[in-house]
């Protein structure tokens, strides 16, 4: 057992922490105010990330990535989680699923994404298909050797800046004893493909500037070359590559919680009421004690689940626990910090209200808390035959 970071890991953490403090924090207020990231700023962050050799650090070195393992990458995400997601989006970490690219797809999608020349987005959710991914109605029909896609996706993060989108579409249906079950295929769809439009989504209270977009497919014609992985094997592709993204959400929640906690701690030591710092009141100090305990627990739970992946051990249950606990911890920590700040915490003049709002989505996206509990329960009971 070794709970310390090695030299490389400490330097990775230091570099990313310093980067977000110097290059991201100063722009957060403007993004929050305008809900928008100026293009030159986006390009600047991207270029600096490339210069640092951190762009696509989650990809293997063979394809030009940084070659980080799961623990190292979780540490990067943890530090990035401290800052605005609208801005850290350009500290590019393309979707791992692009590793499923084959043949010329590698030159058109994988390699340019790793080099930071083309940005990707992932589209699964639909108005009628949230947690029930298989319930999707976006579908593709065979037509003269091509696929013709119809339907819509929503809540597609990052699609506003994407050059291409990885889209999950129903390509058929199997009859099973438990009723019909849709077959899913994954497609790579370029921005500008006829019949494919990307438009503004809803105004979210969480993560201003990190937009959710709506994708419309109106008889969008795609050749077989756009299929990622095998036809009808979308779930296999999803399970192989999207499994680990929940660690990202957990790690970011831990990083943000630390930043919020440090502010709450400093305020509790400074702010005086009734003639003493409010941190001297047990009502406040006990809250701080609970917060730091929960943050540490979530941190270790997250790193331990990443460590299991690095060791090649089964980790589905552990990742679900980390995602569940870290995001619920973030909700409690942001809420309690806001309480310590009192009325001022709710004002947009301080970032506390933003962290509190941003925290809310973490329990919903990338698998809701309910889905994570379902996964954990299933993994526990299945071996017992229940």
């Amino acid at each position: 057992m070794n709970f310390g970071l090695n030299d490389e890991q400490s330097m990775i953490v230091d570099t990313v922490r310093t980067f977000v403090e110097r290059e991201i924090y100063p722009h957060e207020d403007a993004v929050e105010r305008t809900g928008h990231v100026p293009e030159d700023l986006a390009q600047d962050i991207k270029q600096k990330t490339r210069d640092l050799g951190f762009y696509a650090c989650n990809f293997p070195e063979e394809v030009g990535g940084g070659g980080l393992g799961h623990v190292d990458f979780a540490l990067v995400e943890r530090e990035l989680g401290r800052a605005s997601m609208a801005l850290t989006h350009f500290f590019g970490r393309p979707q791992n699923i692009l590793m499923a690219c084959e043949g010329e797809q590698r030159d058109r999608y994988l390699l340019p994404a790793v080099r930071g020349e083309r940005m990707d987005a992932l589209a699964m959710t639909e108005p009628g298909a949230g947690s029930d991914v298989r319930g999707m109605s976006c579908s593709a029909q065979r037509d003269g050797g091509d696929w013709v896609v119809k339907g819509a996706k929503h809540f597609i993060s990052g699609a506003d800046h994407a050059d291409f989108v990885i889209v999950f579409v129903a390509t058929g249906e199997d009859q099973t004893p438990r009723g019909p079950k849709k077959r899913i295929t994954t497609f790579l769809v370029d921005r500008g493909t006829p019949g494919f439009t990307i438009r503004e989504g809803y105004a979210s209270v969480s993560h201003r500037g990190y937009k959710n977009m709506i994708l419309d497919f109106d008889n969008c014609r795609l050749p077989d070359a756009q299929v990622l992985g095998e036809v009808d094997q979308g779930f296999a592709v999803m399970n192989e590559w999207l499994y680990a993204t929940r660690i990202t959400v957990a790690a970011m929640a831990v990083g943000r919680a630390r930043r919020v906690f440090d502010m709450g701690l400093a305020y509790a030591a400074e702010r005086e009421q009734f003639g003493q710092p409010i941190g001297k009141f047990q009502g406040v100090s006990f809250q701080l004690a609970d917060m730091v305990t929960e943050i540490d627990a979530a941190d270790w739970l997250t790193l331990a689940s990443a460590w299991r992946l690095d060791q090649g051990l089964p980790a589905n249950r552990e990742i679900a626990s980390a995602k569940l606990y870290a995001t619920e911890m973030l909700a409690r920590v942001t809420d309690a910090t806001l309480q310590i700040y009192g009325g001022m915490g709710l004002m947009n003049d301080l970032p506390i209200a933003r962290f509190w709002r941003d925290a809310r989505v973490e329990r919903i996206w990338d698998g809701t808390s309910e889905i994570q509990r379902h996964i954990i329960g299933r993994e526990l009971l299945r071996p017992l035959g229940a």
């Binding site: 030299d7 490389e8 330097m11 570099t15 050799g53």
Partner: protein, 253 residues
């Protein structure tokens, strides 16, 4: 040409420093430590010299506790080629004095024969601003302190110094000791490929005995205390009121 860069492990500039209850110094237990920011500027300058083809090797050296190894790894991750660690104490609260550090650096200079020594103008922990000058005295080499610009010119260096009231430009003969100031450059971040390479770069570990230098303290710290609390100010409404207040405070006659 070889560039020698001494780096010191100091309390991180972001940390709120706490004086130990017994007044014997600053509490360093469980506190984040980093490379002295001025030394980071010196490392950056050395790497830029190498990138410009003016230097062929950058050697970082640190004197202190064994944990200074982390500071040297950071220098290596920024781009230094190799490192020398002189473990002079095992107590993080034992700050090796400038004269002892300068004597050890003199010994390293004898061994390494650098063309230039680039050091931070001072360490942010004790602000002595002495080591570079003492090293120049011991080696007999030229010195240029508080550099905000360095141009190499054959076997000399043209150094712009930040002095009271402006900038002074001097030309010194190499080998020289140049201590660097804040505005010389903006240090780079350690890149991911360099972080990964740093571990493979050589880091020699030495002791003061190997150099025949006695590092026992010659100074006695009488006490360490918190600076006085700043008193609240007053907002004045006019120049007349300001003048009156200054007179009242005895700042104006």
């Amino acid at each position: 040409m070889k560039v020698l860069v001494p780096v010191k492990r100091v309390i991180d500039y972001n940390v709120k420093v706490r004086v130990k209850a017994d007044g014997s110094g600053v509490d360093l237990a469980n506190v984040k430590m980093s490379m002295n920011p001025f030394d980071e500027i010196a490392v950056e300058q050395a790497i830029r010299m190498k990138e410009a083809g003016q230097a062929d090797e950058v050697v970082a050296v640190s004197i202190g506790v064994k944990q200074s190894q982390e500071t040297l790894r950071t220098a290596l991750a920024m781009g230094a080629d190799r490192a020398i660690l002189i473990v002079a104490t095992d107590d993080v609260h034992n700050d090796i004095e400038p004269l002892a550090v300068a004597k050890l650096l003199k010994a390293v200079c004898d061994e390494e024969q650098p063309g230039v020594v680039l050091c931070g103008k001072q360490a942010i922990d004790n602000d002595m601003n002495a080591t570079g000058q003492m090293l120049a005295a011991l080696t007999g080499w030229a010195q240029a302190t508080f550099a905000s610009d360095i141009q190499l010119d054959g076997d000399s260096a043209v150094v712009t110094r930040e002095v009271d009231g402006g900038l002074q430009t001097i030309k010194v003969k190499m080998p020289a000791i140049i201590s660097v100031d804040l505005r010389l450059n903006e240090p780079r971040y350690a890149s991911l490929p360099n972080i990964m390479k740093a571990k493979k770069k050589p880091l020699d570990e030495k002791t003061p005995e190997e150099y025949g230098v006695d590092v026992s303290p010659r100074l006695q710290i009488v006490s360490t205390g918190e600076p006085d609390q700043r008193k609240a100010g007053v907002i004045v409404g006019s120049v007349d009121e300001l003048v009156a207040k200054l007179k009242e405070a005895g700042a104006l006659a």
